[in-house]
């Protein structure tokens, strides 16, 4: 009995301590967010990260950014800019009164030093500055970039979620070491943003505190705590218990219509287009079979079941936020003709691969496709493709799945960043090695157009060619979903900023 009493007393004290801490935290202006995985690095030049973009953008700032809720480019550290008539020289007028987290004032020379670092071939994201001929800082407020040839997509690259963002001299001079400050920036930050990195406990949490020297409006929150919680289910429960304030990614679509009281959902257009990539090496070599398969996988047959009201049929091979095509893609609809085509081709078996980074939802889409394909006589199986193996599919097309479905993100809003990553010969995410010289030439031509309506028409024509050839099949525009506790306002999401809110403007009502 004595042991029992002691145990109960200990449990009570532990519980008391735990709950007292929770209620004390609620009184502070602290925002708590959970990420599913550790962020590799907040170094803006270090890697393409998905989780952590919102932290990255309140630590570091670029020259330009997308206006919240739109794809319009506005100034950030650059107050204004001009582009020379030949389209090669960009002259940025820098904002006054910008101070790095270490207290030093930012000048154009700092920006120049940083941009030179970004160009270092050893840094993974150096390709954002491909085509830059020279850079200079003629005075303390002016930064100039000259390109080798005009790049109408250049400003979009500078506004991208992974764009160059200026790092201060504490990293690039004081702690540069022999690796351009990479090691130091792994767990520290020296930017100009509204928050400073106070603590980086890898695998556990990151803590940001308000930067009182910030040049812009002071953020509402004093502190932001990012917790690493791998399980989305646990994040959902934590949100319900008010232990965190936001789940930025992965909340199941089928739960969104029955959210517990006190939670709200923000659904906004993003750049993550759901696409099917066709491997034309095996069963889908025959155009008639491809056409039949496209009849079966028409998103009209499964979109609502998979995503509810949070997705719409794709309008082209570009996300709606990039080019809003005139109407949904017209899939073939004659099931009888599809059945006859499959019967003529003999037994057809295909394998559908799906990207594991969005596993529950992609698996669901793949399974819908399997049942629809069965209706036209195609036997289909599904398998998951780990993220780190996607780029190796091209190495053995006979072992690769016949269809690969994924929601991938381009670097920015300009359509050139979509064609350059997915459709052109040798593109990084051209998983099955599609190659068409005519498409490459059209992409090069469209990439030089500055008239946006004309540019979009050209790109839509490219989309039609790719769809008609059955190489890439646009399926759905899926909204970016953020679930948060009631009372939070001014999330200021951006289509080109996946899985992120703006911690600088976010506040509690």
């Amino acid at each position: 009995m004595k042991i029992m009493r002691t145990t109960c007393a200990a449990a009570f004290i532990l519980a008391l301590g735990f709950n007292a801490r929770a209620s004390a935290a609620a009184a502070e202006k602290v925002l708590r967010v959970a990420y599913n995985e550790d962020v590799a690095t907040f170094d803006p030049d270090g890697a393409i990260i998905m989780f952590g973009l919102d932290v990255s953008r309140v630590l570091y700032e670029g020259l330009v950014q997308y206006k919240p809720g739109t794809t319009q480019i506005i100034g950030w550290l650059a107050q204004s800019w001009s582009i020379s008539p030949d389209g090669r020289t960009y002259r940025f007028s820098l904002r006054d009164g910008v101070v790095f987290h270490d207290g030093r004032a930012m000048t154009a020379s700092d920006v120049l030093v940083y941009f030179r670092r970004r160009q270092a071939p050893s840094l993974p994201l150096s390709y954002f500055l491909d085509g830059v001929e020279t850079m200079s800082a003629p005075d303390s407020h002016t930064f100039v970039i000259t390109l080798k040839a005009p790049q109408p997509a250049f400003l979009d690259r500078l506004a991208s979620a992974w764009a160059p963002k200026v790092i201060g001299p504490e990293a690039l001079v004081d702690h540069a070491g022999g690796d351009l400050g990479v090691a130091w920036l792994n767990e520290h930050a020296d930017g100009t943003g509204p928050f400073k990195l106070l603590e980086f406990a890898r695998g556990q949490r990151y803590v940001l505190v308000r930067n009182s020297n910030y040049w812009g409006p002071q953020p509402y929150f004093d502190k932001i705590e990012i917790l690493i919680v791998p399980s989305t289910n646990q994040q959902m429960l934590m949100l319900e218990r008010a232990e965190i304030d936001i789940v930025e990614h992965g909340y199941p679509f089928d739960q969104l219509s029955k959210l517990p009281p006190g939670l709200k959902v923000d659904a906004h257009d993003g750049l993550g287009l759901e696409m099917a990539y066709f491997n034309q090496t095996k069963a889908l070599r025959d155009p008639a079979v491809r056409n039949a398969v496209m009849t079966a996988i028409n998103p009209a047959g499964w979109l609502n079941d998979a995503f509810g009201s949070f997705a719409t049929p794709a309008r082209s091979l570009y996300p709606k936020a990039m080019i809003n095509g005139p109407q949904a893609v017209a899939f073939p609809t004659d099931f009888e003709a599809a059945r006859r085509a499959i019967a003529r081709a003999g037994p057809v078996s295909i394998e559908i691969g799906y990207a594991d980074q969005e596993e529950p939802v992609q698996q669901r889409v793949a399974e819908f496709m399997v049942s629809l394909l069965k209706q036209i006589g195609v036997t289909a199986t599904v398998r998951t493709i780990p993220l780190d193996q996607e780029s190796s599919l091209i190495n053995n097309l006979f072992r690769a799945p016949d269809i690969f479905i994924a929601q991938n993100y381009p670097d920015a809003v300009h359509p050139a960043t979509q064609t350059g990553v997915f459709f052109e010969t040798g593109a990084a995410l051209n998983f099955f090695g599609y190659s068409n010289q005519k498409v490459d030439a059209l992409c090069a031509e469209a990439g030089q157009l500055t008239s946006i309506p004309q540019r979009d028409r050209e790109y839509l024509a490219i989309s039609n060619i790719l769809f008609d050839e059955g190489a890439f099949v646009p399926l759905a525009d899926i909204k970016d979903i953020i679930v948060y506790r009631s009372g939070l306002v001014d999330l200021d999401t951006r289509p080109a900023l996946p899985w992120a809110v703006d911690y600088g403007t976010l506040r509690r009502q």
């Binding site: 449990a11 532990l14 519980a15 301590g17 735990f18 709950n19 801490r21 935290a25 708590r32 995985e37 550790d38 590799a40 690095t41 890697a47 393409i48 990260i49 071939p121 050893s122 993974p124 994201l125 150096s126 390709y127 491909d130 992974w162 090691a183 792994n186 406990a201 890898r202 695998g203 556990q204 949490r205 803590v207 705590e225 917790l227 690493i228 919680v229 791998p230 399980s231 646990q234 429960l237 934590m238 218990r241 232990e243 780990p386 993220l387 780190d388 193996q389 996607e390 780029s391 190796s392 190495n395 053995n396 991938n408 993100y409 381009p410 670097d411 990553v421 040798g426 990084a428 995410l429």
Partner: protein
Amino acid sequence: MWLFFLRRIAGLVTVLVAMTIVLFALQEVVPADPARALVGPNAPNAIVEAKRRQMQLDRALPVRYWRYMVQLSKGDLGRSIHTHNPVTQDLARFTPATLELVAVALLLGILIGAGVALPQVLSRWGDILRLGLIGAASAPIFLTGLLLSLLFWYRLGWLPGGGRISPDDFRPGPTGFMIADSILTGQWRMLLDALAHLILPAFTLALPIAVAVGRTLASSLTEVYRQTYIRTARAKGLSEAVVLTRHALKNAAGPPLLMIALQVALIFNNLLIVEQLFAWPGLGLYMVQGFASADLPAVLGVALVAATTYLVIAAIVDVLRALLDPRLSLV
């Protein structure tokens, strides 16, 4: 005895080398691309190729293996692809969390196991306890953890549902072990907080250990109690407690000790699940992140730590058993 000890060390080194060979060979089978994982999905192929050369992934497998072993002999486990840190630095950061959890789970497992085994042998209530424990441990560990979490964290709010410590302003200590650090720095609220965070994951991990240890100890004790020296001890007038502690437990300890060594291997398997479930920032979490980013140096590093820990514990148990029963050192 020394020869026995040296044989165990030689076996340990051989197993570790064999494991590095197997893991390295697996790289050739798994079509993952560490260079692509490092630079990101959208980077042009030219950047990926440059990174591949920089990481020396374009070299033949035996060349890379030799280089790895040369580095390993100097205590260098390479650099993690995901965290960009030296793997030794990451391991130093993540290992204390895992060791703390494993130690507490082992201790809990042994205590619960003994607490179930002793009444089973000494009284008639043991069978009920045993049935209860088997029932609790027969569920998959994922389910057990989930149910415990749902009850004690989500429903009752008595214990934290995840993490190692509350996001509070505790001062870090010198060891990386929260319990030790809180005591060394005199932060008693931190000690309570760390213990509260440990309970659910440690208990989840401890249940299968408790069943295994409890059953082995019970059957071993039952066997020992049938021996004549126990009858003699009782005939000498020794109390039941003295018979148990001085004579029975010492002679019955061999099989449970062996079982504990086997359970250490199981613990590492279960850690991957429990650390994910309870957001415990240990080696399991580090390894899972490593898998996701084709981070071979990290995966190899964790595998080496896990295997070394297991082999060292197995060796210690063998030595302990040999000390308890010197005939075993002759085998």
